[in-house]
């Protein structure tokens, strides 16, 4: 596919038309893969010989943690696109993704705490991974609050996108700083491209389906919220015109 064709969707009208067409399908697929993945994971996989049934929280924990980071990454990319090419849809997509990402972070933290209570014997430990997720959550809160606080749309888009860039650098810095600060309780990566250290196959395949479900859910939510933002802004413009005329 020609990458240049992608910029056509920076036109709000085109964006709404295109997303309207794919949104039902993405939503159906998201629901389908979430149902299949979670039911498969919860009811048709064996219990772990040491963790018992608590292992099954992995089907919520890992996908949400993955999306929490990738949502911020997406906001970083769309912020950059806004700064460089000044497409409004891009800024609005970043705005739309932030609350979703914050909720994903919260889900990851909550499910981690629920799993940690029986396994580690504590709801919370100041472990590097846990701590950096808490910091990521704070970054999300600051970003959302800045969007809400500024009245002028373009100013808000500019300021939040710069905050997103600076925040990304500091979030990364914090991630490695907390590594230095405390030893970890959290296990290593459950998934990686080199297959050596992955979880066992019985857990692996339903987990992949769940991850696909979370990705699709995220895309569907961001499309929907971006559409809402575009329509809300269009409505405000129309109202303003009517008052003037």
């Amino acid at each position: 596919m020609n990458l240049n064709a992608l910029w056509a969707y920076a036109n709000p009208k085109k964006f709404i038309q295109a997303t309207d067409r794919v949104l039902p399908w993405i939503s159906i697929l998201a629901v389908l893969s979430l149902v299949v993945g979670l039911v498969w994971g919860f009811f048709f996989t064996p219990e772990d010989y040491r963790q018992g049934s608590t292992v099954k929280i992995i089907y919520l924990h890992v996908p949400s943690a993955l999306m929490a980071i990738n949502a911020w990454l997406m906001m970083l990319v769309t912020s950059l696109v806004w700064i460089v090419r000044r497409h409004h849809v891009s800024a609005l997509a970043a705005r739309a993704a932030a609350p979703v990402g914050a909720v994903m972070t919260l889900i990851a933290l909550a499910t981690g705490a629920i799993w940690g209570q029986p396994m580690w014997g504590t709801w919370w430990a100041w472990d590097p991974r846990l701590t950096s997720f808490l910091i990521l959550f704070l970054f999300y809160l600051g970003y959302i609050a800045l969007w809400e606080a500024i009245e002028d749309d373009d100013t808000a888009a500019d300021l939040t996108s710069i905050l997103c860039l600076v925040g990304s650098v500091f979030a990364l810095l914090s991630r490695y700083a907390v590594n230095f600060w405390n030893q970890g309780l959290h296990q290593g990566a459950s998934l990686s491209l080199d297959k050596e250290e992955n979880v066992a196959d019985v857990f692996y395949y339903p987990l992949l389906v769940c991850i696909a479900g979370f990705v699709l859910l995220f895309i569907a939510l961001v499309f929907l919220r971006t559409q809402t933002e575009i329509r809300a802004r269009r409505m405000r413009a129309l109202l303003a015109r009517e008052r003037m005329g």
Partner: protein, 218 residues
């Protein structure tokens, strides 16, 4: 540039400028901590380095909205923006003035507060050194936060929410350096990291602050 620096310093020194306010706040924090955790001197000695760093950070935070808000209100920021001085230089000078009026006094008085907190003798030099290395980064990051929120009516709380996560790496390495100093461990690694953060923020963040300020003045 020098004239701007002198003007800012003079404004801070004179009545209503809030010079020493940060220092007084620092003193109050240090006074309140023993009430909160109890007066056992061995406990205080153990947490002294961390509390002093936290106090310095909060004292710094408290004075951030003064960096740009007053100039914004009386319109002198618009004049500065049209002056033949690049915006990057203006925000750097503002950060420097903030450090000279808030950060430096904290560094100088930190040993006295260390005395109040029963800081072990080995800890004084690393503590002062870590504050000296770390507080410039706090000022520069804070100027970025102040530039972000300068146009807002009630930006104070938002400013804290935006700036405090950015302070995390500085606080981690600064407090770690002071703690290691207290325990007589090697302080080289956190010291280098802290110096790296400070140099990096001084070199790069003024560009972000200037960009943000230009947006806000638009």
């Amino acid at each position: 540039m020098i004239a701007l620096l002198i003007r800012d310093l003079r404004l801070a020194m004179r009545a209503g400028g809030g010079f020493g306010l940060g220092l007084a706040f620092f003193l109050i924090v240090v006074t309140l901590v023993p009430f909160g955790v109890g007066p056992q001197s061995d406990l205080l000695a153990r947490i002294a380095a961390g509390i002093l760093w936290l106090g310095a950070l909060l004292a710094c935070l408290l004075s951030l909205d003064r960096i740009l808000a007053l100039d914004w209100e009386d319109g002198s920021l618009d004049l500065l923006a049209t002056a033949p001085l690049p915006m990057e230089a203006i925000v750097s000078i503002k950060a420097l003035a903030h450090w000279l009026t808030t950060g430096l006094p904290l560094v100088l008085f930190a040993p006295v507060f260390g005395l109040l907190m029963n800081l072990p003798e080995a800890g004084y030099k690393p503590l002062v050194l870590s504050l000296l290395l770390g507080t410039p980064a706090l000022s520069v990051i804070g100027t970025f936060g102040a530039a972000l929120t300068v146009g807002l009516k009630r930006g104070g709380l938002l400013l804290s929410l935006l700036v405090l996560p950015l302070y995390v790496p500085t606080l981690i390495f600064g407090a770690e350096m002071a703690r290691r100093g207290v325990e007589g461990l090697d302080i080289t690694t956190p010291m280098l990291m802290l110096a790296g953060i400070t140099c990096g923020t001084i070199a790069l963040l003024p560009f972000a602050s200037a960009a943000v300020l230009r947006v806000n003045l638009r």
